[in-house]
Amino acid sequence: RRPLRVFAAASLAAPFTALEQAFEASHPGLDVQCNFAGSPQLVLQIEQGAAADVFAAADVVNMAKVQASGNAVGEPRRFARNRLAIVVAAGNPRAIQGLGDLARDGCKVALCGPEVPAGRYARQALAKAKVAVRSLSDEPNVHALVTKVRLGELDAGIVFQTDCTATGIAAVAIAAEHQVVADYPITTLTAAAAVEAAAFVDFVLSPSGQQVLAAHGFQAP
C-alpha cells in the first residue's frame, strides 16, 4: 500500500487516528501514517524537507508559517473549530460558574502560556469578560494544565472543550459572549502525491469526517 503521511497537531491525535482508520477502509490502496507532534515541531520538520502530504495545524499561526515557506498548496481549509471551557477539579469544590469566578481570592488558577494557542485564546476570552486572573503558571501545553487540575493541584484552568471531552474531566461552559473560537486549518503540501492528499483533505471535510470530529468534541467549521 502506498503511504500517505499526515502531519497533525498533537491535540488532534484522537480524532485523526479514527479518521485514519475510516479513510483507509474506503481507500484500500493507501496507508495513512499520522505523525503527531506539537504544531511548531511539525512546521520545522516540513521546513526541513520532511516527506509530508497533509498538514493539519491547531492554529492559523503555524499554518501561516508553512504557507510562508512555500510548502503549502493553495489556501488552507478550515476543517474544525474548538471552543474554550473552564476545567475544574473533581466536584468543582470552588463552585466555579463562569470566568468571573476565576478571579476570586484563594482560587488557584493557571492558564497556558501566551505562546500556546490555548493560552492565547484564554487571555482573549478573559479580556472580553474583563476579568483579571493571576495565572499561577504559564502551562506549556493543555495536558500539563489538565493534569494539574485533575490531581487537585489547581482549582481551575481554561482549556479547549475537546480536551475536557477526551479526558472526561468536569468542565464549566464559558458564556457565549466571552467565547473565543479556535480554527483548525488543513492543507496539502507541495511534496505530496496531489490526488491522494487532496482525497484525504476532502474526506476530513466530508460529512463522515465531520462526524468523527464531532464525536471528539469538535465543532464544524
Binding site: R5, S11, C34, F36, Q45, Q48, A51, V142, H143, V146
Partner: protein, 263 residues
C-alpha cells in the same frame, strides 16, 4: 567489612531509605492510580506491540552503536589530558544538557533530508533518516550515548594500567589486552554506563519525535505512544508507561542471569 554495622548503619540507612522513598513514593502513587483493568486490553493491542518492538529495537541498537563508537571514544578520552579531549568531552556532554527538542532540531539540521550530512546521504545513497526506524535509533543514540561514554571514561581512568603492562609481557597485543584485561576489570563502570545509556535511550521522547517523527510502526516508540495518549487519555498514558517500565525490568532481569553475574 562487607555489611554495614554499628552507628554507620543509621548514617547510611536513613538517607538511603529517604532516597529510595523519593523514588518509590511517586511510583507508588502511579501504581495506586493505575487503571489495572485497561492494562490487559492494552497488552493485546497491536499498536502497543508495535511500539514495544520499536522501543526495544531502537534502544538496543542505540546501545550497540553507543558501545561501538563510544567505547573507542572513551578510551581516547581516558588516554591522556589535552585541550582537544576537553572540547570533545564537552561536545559529547551537551546532549544531556540541551532540551531534547533542541537536540532533535540539531539532529534535523545535521542528518535531516536538508541537513549538512543528510542532504549528501540523500543525494548519494538515497537514504533519509527522519521518519525511519534508523532515525529513531539515531536520536536514541544521540541522547543515550553520552552517558555511556562518560561512565566508561571514569572507569578507565580508575583502572590500574600496570595490569596491561603485565599482559603485554605475556605476549598479548593491544586488542587482546583490552578484551581480556581492561574490559573485565572495568566491568562495573561498563555495566553502569550501558545501563544508563540503554535506559535513557528507551525513555527518549522529544528528540525522537522532533527528528524521526511519530509514525506508528516505524518511529512511534512506547514513550511517543505515551505522549500521544497524554493528549487525549492520560490514564492510557500511565498504562503505557507502566508497560514501558515493565519492559525495562524484564530486559534487565533477563540480562542479569548471564551478564550481571556477581563479581
Amino acid at each position: 567489612m562487607t555489611t554495614l554495622r554499628g552507628p554507620v548503619r543509621w548514617l547510611i540507612g536513613v538517607p538511603a531509605a529517604a532516597a529510595v522513598l523519593l523514588f518509590a513514593l511517586p511510583l507508588f502513587g502511579i501504581l495506586l492510580r493505575m487503571p489495572w483493568s485497561r492494562l490487559g486490553e492494552q497488552l493485546m493491542s497491536p499498536a502497543v506491540h508495535d511500539a514495544m518492538r520499536l522501543s526495544l529495537l531502537s534502544s538496543c541498537s542505540a546501545l550497540a552503536l553507543a558501545v561501538a563508537l563510544g567505547l573507542p571514544l572513551a578510551i581516547w578520552l581516558a588516554s591522556g589530558r589535552s585541550a582537544l579531549r576537553t572540547v570533545a568531552r564537552i561536545i559529547v556532554m551537551l546532549p544531556i544538557v540541551l532540551p531534547p527538542v533542541v537536540g532533535g532540531i540539531a539532529l534535523l539540521l545535521a542528518f535531516g533530508r536538508a541537513g549538512i550530512v543528510g542532504s549528501w546521504l540523500d543525494s548519494t545513497f538515497g537514504v533519509t533518516l527522519p521518519f525511519s526506524t534508523a532515525g529513531a535509533t539515531l536520536a536514541a543514540t544521540y541522547i543515550g550515548m553520552p552517558f555511556f561514554v562518560l561512565a566508561v571514561e571514569a572507569g578507565l581512568r580508575a583502572f590500574d594500567r600496570r595490569y596491561l603492562a603485565a599482559a603485554a609481557t605475556l605476549g598479548a597485543g593491544p586488542v587482546r589486552r583490552f578484551v581480556t584485561v581492561t574490559l573485565p576489570m572495568i566491568r562495573p563502570s561498563l555495566q553502569a554506563g550501558a545501563l544508563l545509556c540503554w535506559a535513557r535511550a528507551l525513555g527518549e521522547f522529544c528528540a525522537t519525535q522532533t527528528f524521526a517523527g511519530n509514525l506508528q510502526g516505524s518511529t512511534r516508540t512506547l514513550p511517543l505512544a505515551c505522549g500521544v495518549a497524554m493528549e487525549s487519555d492520560p490514564e492510557l498514558a500511565i498504562v503505557l508507561s507502566l508497560i514501558l517500565s515493565s519492559v525495562s525490568i524484564v530486559v534487565l532481569f533477563l540480562l542479569r542471569q548471564r551478564w550481571l553475574a556477581p563479581r
